[in-house]
Amino acid sequence: MAQKREIAGTTVFDGEQAAKGYQLNKMCYSFNDPENRKKFVADQGAYFDKYKLTAEQRAALASGSVLKMIEAGGNAYYLAKLAGILGLGVQDIGAQQTGMSVKAFKQKLLDAGRQ
């Protein structure tokens, strides 16, 4: 099999990642239903159990690190639903992943328009 293509700063969500992250993404997919969001907020531990999250996924969620959640198989589109519950916007998440302040991250985007 051909070697995987490396794209800097990017995790390609391929079959391997999709298999690894299945339970985590399935939990996030359940948040489409507002009732499930309430259940999650009421008892996160029970919710993790219900979706059979792996130890790595639980640790990633406990750390709050989006990069760790991606490493544990999380997909951006599904994780966005979790971010919504936590009240994080895409700029908050961008800042966290790039190690910048939210202000600096927003400025980076504005600067991209001026180049």
């Binding site: 293509r5 794209i7 800097a8 700063g9 990017t10 995790t11 390609v12 969500f13 391929d14 079959g15 999709a18 299945y22 993404n25 399935k26 996030c28 997919y29 948040f31 489409n32 507002p34 969001r37 989006v66 990069l67 991606i70 997909n75 951006a76 589109y77 599904y78 994780l79 966005a80 639903k81 971010a83 919504g84 519950i85 895409v90 700029q91 998440i93 961008g94 992943q97 790039t98 991250f105 980076k108 985007l109 504005l110 991209a112 328009g113 180049q115």
Partner: protein
């Protein structure tokens, strides 16, 4: 016979829906983006399409990883939007055109595609935001045919495959016996990336190349693979595939009417394009 009267292409970033709900269209941050739409609406008002065929990507609302279609075509009589898990604004339901949907499905399967066929389908901001940008009063004067392209789980279909899909959809629409005026819509893009250390990635040079190809020869993008597009446009910039397919559906004499490009809205390089599509015979006669 039905005909494709034009193509509309726009970014669909969720924040657009929030900005509309909060009436922020004239704020300095948003104005450069929203200013693109009044002229496009005038054109729509004159052209009066009956149906919009929307090439879009589902963001984990209708499809999960248990069964992820590469291509899916809606064949429902109604499509309902939901809040996608984070409370974003929903809209009035959209009327479908099942008869046209089945005609498209029949046509593209005969052309070698294997779409998932959906008689129930929830639709997300990739459909609601472009529709709101075209019809702000949300009294939809058109029916829709949603055509979903997987942008979540690799392997993704690349530019060439999406180009061929668009060609097949275009042929199917123009062979439909009823006299419908059909607008094609490419939803998403342009360059952006939400996840990873490269979050916030934007590529103005590549976006310009893509907009020029959309205005001119879209097959110029067929040299890229899906992973090339990830590298050049960002992980979520693969929504470009929806633009490619919509543009490829237009097979008449195509003219660029409007183009607008602005960085940033949210984490995205936003772009809006409007193209007209004249039948080749009519264009010759003119």
């Amino acid at each position: 016979m039905s005909r494709i009267i034009g193509g509309f292409f726009t970014s669909h970033v969720p924040a657009i829906g929030n900005a509309i709900a909060r009436k922020q269209q004239n704020e300095p941050y948003w104005k450069p983006f929203f200013d693109a739409f009044p002229p496009a609406r005038e054109w729509l008002g004159r052209q009066k399409p009956d149906v919009v065929a929307i090439f879009y990507n589902d963001h984990g609302l209708n499809f999960f990883l248990d069964k992820m279609p590469t291509f899916a075509v809606g064949a429902a009589s109604e499509y309902v939007s939901e809040d996608e898990g984070w409370g974003i604004p929903t809209t009035a339901p959209f009327k479908g055109d099942p008869k046209l949907s089945w005609h498209i499905i029949n046509g593209i399967v005969a052309d070698g595609f294997d779409p998932v066929m959906c008689q129930e389908m929830t639709v997300d901001h990739a459909i609601t935001n472009p529709m709101l940008l075209m019809y702000p009063d949300s009294k939809w004067p058109v029916r829709i045919v949603p055509i979903a392209i997987n942008s979540i789980q690799h392997p993704l279909p690349g530019p060439k495959r999406c180009y061929d899909l668009g060609r097949a959809v275009g042929r199917a629409i123009e062979s439909y016996g009823e006299n419908l005026r059909v607008l094609v819509l490419g939803s998403g893009g342009l360059s952006h990336q939400l996840d990873g250390e490269r979050a916030g990635f934007i590529n103005k040079g590549f976006d310009r190349e893509c907009m020029d190809a959309i205005a001119g020869d879209v097959s110029a993008l067929n040299k890229y693979s899906a992973l090339d597009v990830v590298e050049k446009a960002g992980a979520q910039g693969v929504e470009l595939m929806c633009w490619i397919a919509a543009r490829a559906a237009m097979q008449g004499r195509v003219k660029e009417l409007r183009r607008s490009y602005h960085i940033p809205i949210s984490n995205t390089a936003s772009a809006v394009m409007l193209l007209s599509n004249e039948p080749v015979e009519a264009a010759k006669a003119a």
